[in-house]
């Protein structure tokens, strides 16, 4: 019996040391298993951490503990695969949020422009469809025109590198709006064999 007890105690000690070693070695990954599938990808439980645990807010300061945790706000909002993991455009459409268009006037409505710009791209990637509608629901014309985009065909040269550098679309996308890791959200119009003067489909 004593041998069995000793065995239990020593096994327990070995287990603790082993787990500790694993935790210290795999600080970056979220799981103790070194062969975990997608081991560096933050699982849903680790996304949108509360301010006291997010590494930017000072957890020792009084402020971080008083702030609302993002998860409590995002619970009722439609999900997405990147950025905040919230689909903000959908949240607005489904009226899950009602952000004001004017600082004081709660009922002010935006002037929405429903105009799509289809930008042809080189190579095999589908053409980019830029929808004014979703953007003008949030932004004012002067936010982009003419400082960031000249409202004229052929006047704006945009490359993926310039977007990643934070120019053009990258002024917002990759900073506050969804990042450009989801290609199909913009590159959404497959190329036709022959391009006419005006494409039919949106």
């Amino acid at each position: 019996m004593t041998i069995l007890r000793n065995l239990i105690t020593s096994t327990g000690a070995v287990v603790i040391v082993f787990m500790l070693a694993l935790l210290l070695v795999n600080k970056e990954s979220h799981s103790a298993d070194p062969n975990q599938f997608n081991r560096l990808l933050a699982p849903p439980s680790k996304r949108n951490p509360p301010p006291t645990l997010d590494g930017i807010h000072d957890a020792d300061g009084p402020g971080a503990a008083m702030l609302q945790t993002p998860k409590s706000a995002f619970d009722i909002l439609p999900k997405s695969k990147s950025g905040n993991y919230v689909d903000w455009v959908k949240a607005l459409d489904e009226k899950k949020i009602a952000p004001r268009y004017d600082r004081n006037d709660v009922d002010a409505q935006p002037i929405v422009m429903d105009l799509n710009i289809v930008r042809e791209v080189k190579g095999s990637m589908p053409n980019v469809v830029y929808p004014h509608k979703q953007h003008t629901e949030w932004l004012d014309c002067s936010n982009c025109h003419p400082a960031i985009f000249i409202p004229q065909k052929g006047a704006n040269n945009i490359s993926m590198a310039s977007i990643l550098l934070g120019e053009a679309c990258g002024v917002c996308h990759g900073k506050v709006a969804f990042p450009v890791s989801e290609c199909r959200r913009c590159h959404s119009q497959p190329k036709k064999k022959s391009t006419g003067a005006k494409a039919a489909a949106k």
């Binding site: 014309c141 990643l164 494409a199």
Partner: protein, 303 residues
């Protein structure tokens, strides 16, 4: 005898176990005790900073100076009260009565917020209003030009009716006359109305429209320049990313090789362009940019 031994052994064991539990409990309590001590010192620093700020705000800030020269008795009274709050806050914080100090500071800050807004820096405000007027006016003019262009291009008569030019012109001229007279608030208000009018008209004119921006160039030379700019933007990004460590030694050398290949392809493209063979040059540049795209993806850019 055995029974007694057994009991002794059991008692010794239980005693050791209790010691172990006591140790664990003490360690837990000790770690828990250190946290409030940190919070105390933090509170003192926080109050100190707030007191310092309120001191500056009520005694030497531009807002306080404007209130003192204003001649408004009520505002001066409130400034006096805010100064009083500061004095009391200093007293309380010296006695380490942080909660009370905070209450006085908060009241002082709230008072100053309400009062200072009534005495804004007039010159700065005037300047901001002028800038806003010019900006909105430029916006209206740009969009009216665009609207006219669209109406002409589309060739549809009803588009012209979407914008009441007479009303727009009268709005803009009365805005301008208000501006010239010095009534900047009214001028901005009217100009904003004009802007909303043009924005709505433009949105109606382009409703559910689709514009195709084809990648067509006037000449091969233009396309060559476009490809040069595109390659340059990729070079700029990869230069920026070089400061970041790449995942492994193997990928580092692969990325370096790709960058070198692009540099060589650029030289080849330049040579071809000088000879006048823009078509081949463009193809070479495209290859170079593809190499850089691969280099960026290996380095961690997700696109």
């Amino acid at each position: 005898m055995e029974k007694k031994n057994g009991k002794n052994i059991a008692r010794k064991r239980n005693f050791r176990v209790s010691i172990a539990w006591a140790l664990l409990l003490t360690v837990t309590l000790l770690s828990g005790w250190s946290v409030p001590a940190l919070a105390e010192s933090d509170k003192a620093t926080s109050i100190y900073n707030k007191v310092k700020f309120l001191d500056w705000l009520v005694h030497s800030s531009p807002a306080a100076k404007r209130i003192e020269v204003s001649g408004d008795e009520e505002a001066k009274q409130q400034l006096m009260r805010a100064k009083d709050m500061w004095e009391q806050a200093v007293e309380h914080s010296e006695k380490e009565e942080y909660e009370l100090a905070e209450v006085h500071i908060d009241t002082g800050l709230k008072l100053m917020t309400k009062v200072s807004r009534k005495f804004k820096d007039q010159e700065k405000e005037r300047h901001a209003r002028i800038e806003l007027y010019k900006q909105v006016k430029g916006h209206v003019e740009m969009f009216v030009t665009a609207f006219d262009r669209i109406a002409e291009e589309e060739g549809k008569d009803h588009i012209h009716t979407m914008l009441d030019r007479d009303e727009l012109d009268s709005l803009m001229s009365s805005a301008q006359s208000n501006f010239d007279d010095g009534d900047l608030v009214m001028a901005n208000h009217l100009m904003r109305q004009a802007a909303d009018m043009v924005d709505s008209a433009l949105s109606d004119a382009r409703h559910e429209d689709v514009l195709l921006h084809e990648l067509s160039f006037e000449s091969l030379q233009e396309e060559y320049q476009y490809e040069i700019d595109r390659n340059d933007s990729y070079v700029k990004l990869i230069d920026l990313m070089q400061e970041k460590t790449v995942p492994s030694q193997a990928s580092a050398s692969y990325v370096a090789r790709l960058i070198e290949q692009n540099a060589e392809l650029r030289k080849e493209a330049d040579a071809l362009a000088e000879k006048g063979d823009y078509e081949k040059s463009i193809k070479v540049l495209e290859k170079g940019t593809d190499k850089l795209s691969r280099a960026l993806r290996v380095s961690g850019a997700q696109f």
